[in-house]
Symmetry: C2
Subunit: 295 residues, 2 copies
């Protein structure tokens, strides 16, 4: 089904989503994100072990941030999660990042929905990202874990890239390396500077390769989800997610119709006119919209 969601024709994907949607809403959606090299895949592998020890089933969607141009993957993150290959309570799927001028693939929300409907207790979406992809993952997840490694540029640089606002839990991984406690302290200090509304985001130290700090991280994720459920926040996040998804689907439909316009009001012809300064971009957009309204 994930393959169909990723590669199938639009009407098939639509049918799948419509059929699955009533069965979703039970799984805890956990986003794991951070810069390349922070050790996210190893961390997710360790987290799976922690959740399995509590008898919770886990689905993982690993978004490969390979190029929106080539669509190809240079490294398979799955190789780092092979501890759980023989466990029926774990399902791991890699997915390419296809572009659409958004960091994540267009299929990501639909794929998450399918994994939620499949009944996993925890659904993890793991993505490499600085900035945009992190924001998008945060929009999809109930709980977003931002993974930082010491010595990868300091926390101020990380904050500059916009991760402070999307994190529900911070994880300083590779904590056996020098500088880990400094990075953790910086993350705490930066929160004090920022406008976090008085909420202190937990900063946990882990060494995923040695399994250290993993149970504590897993607990922090569960605590965050419980806090969401206790208040109105889980519902608010779900509404925001639905709002975004509806907008995206509607805009995708418009984009598709726009791409199908031919002739003088078609995108090729309009772009030619703008490139040679016969028309300005706003005037061109008006013509495109007028052509859409006429159809």
């Amino acid at each position: 089904m994930l393959t169909r969601i990723e590669d199938g024709p639009a009407d098939v994907v639509r049918e799948i989503v419509s059929a699955l949607h009533p069965h979703t809403g039970r799984g805890a959606l956990v986003g794991v994100t951070g810069a390349p090299g922070a050790g996210k895949s190893t961390l997710v592998n360790a987290l799976i072990g922690s959740w399995r020890a509590l008898d919770r089933t886990v689905g993982v969607l690993a978004i490969d941030p390979s190029s929106p141009f080539s669509g190809g993957a240079l490294l398979g993150d799955r190789v780092r999660m092979q501890d759980h290959v023989l466990d029926d309570g774990v399902f791991i799927r890699s997915m390419a990042s296809r572009g659409q001028l958004g960091g994540l693939s267009w299929s990501t929300p639909q794929a998450l929905l399918a994994m939620d409907a499949a009944g996993f207790d925890v659904v993890v979406v793991e993505t490499v990202g600085v900035g945009q992809a992190e924001v998008e993952v945060a929009a999809l997840a109930d709980t977003t874990v931002v993974v930082v490694a010491p010595g990868m540029g300091d926390a101020v640089q990380a904050a500059k890239a916009g991760i402070l606002e999307v994190a529900d839990v911070f994880c300083v991984n590779k904590a056996d390396r020098p500088g880990a406690s400094r990075t953790a302290r910086e993350l705490r200090e930066l929160q004090a500077l920022g406008d976090s509304g008085g909420i202190q985001i937990p900063v946990l130290l882990t060494t995923a390769t040695a399994g250290e700090g993993i149970d504590e991280l897993s607990e922090a994720i569960t605590d965050h989800r419980r806090a969401l459920e206790a208040g109105a926040e889980l519902d608010a996040r779900r509404r925001a997610r639905a709002r975004m998804q509806i907008s995206e689907l509607a805009l995708a439909a418009v984009r598709e119709r726009a791409a199908a316009v031919r002739g003088a009001a078609g995108l090729d012809e309009l772009a030619r006119a703008v490139a040679c300064r016969d028309l300005d971009p706003y005037g061109a957009a008006d013509r495109l919209l007028a052509a859409l309204a006429d159809r």
Copy 2:
């Protein structure tokens, strides 16, 4: 004018763009991008000196990658470019990254257009980014320089984040650090692996703080632009850019209309229905589009 483009009402921005558009197309648009900490601002500062020595005027748009949520800037990149504050042939402007679920601010293409129309020989857009922002910068620029520093995670990680396909020129900055030549070699080797269409992208080593390698980098940028002009490629890039801008403007108009729909087909109400599983996202998008068509 840049302030108006950034903060002004939509109709004012539209008026400005329409008025300026016929006067654009002369400046060489150079994108400079790379991960946080690669030394991009210092490099741009040094490049400005190199261009000024050739009597070319330079405009710089430094996109602050601060959060799409907070809109605030933690660090001012401009402080690193202060060598040129008193030079009338140089204009530097910082701009916030405001979100719109795209890495770059919505105003970026319009601001670039204004700087091009102002007659600068070179217009630089500098942005921090891994992945999406780099792709967007590449879409805006004639020539994209991807800056990598040794020891910031290896070239494979950089490639994973999608920079290989957007680069017209690679720059390994901080070349006085250990590992610089290894990083340069890896970038060359990765190109051999990838589908670059047989084009060898130059890999230059610079130490921006000491001014080393800067003239060579500046020359590589000029060479690339000349090659674009010699073939049909510059025109092709301009058309692609116009195409994207027209689509974005048209979609922004649709998004604005959609946000203005109230009642049962309004986004708030549709999101509520989707969040409580009364409606699936596709059905909701249909209702939204139907409401737009009725207006």
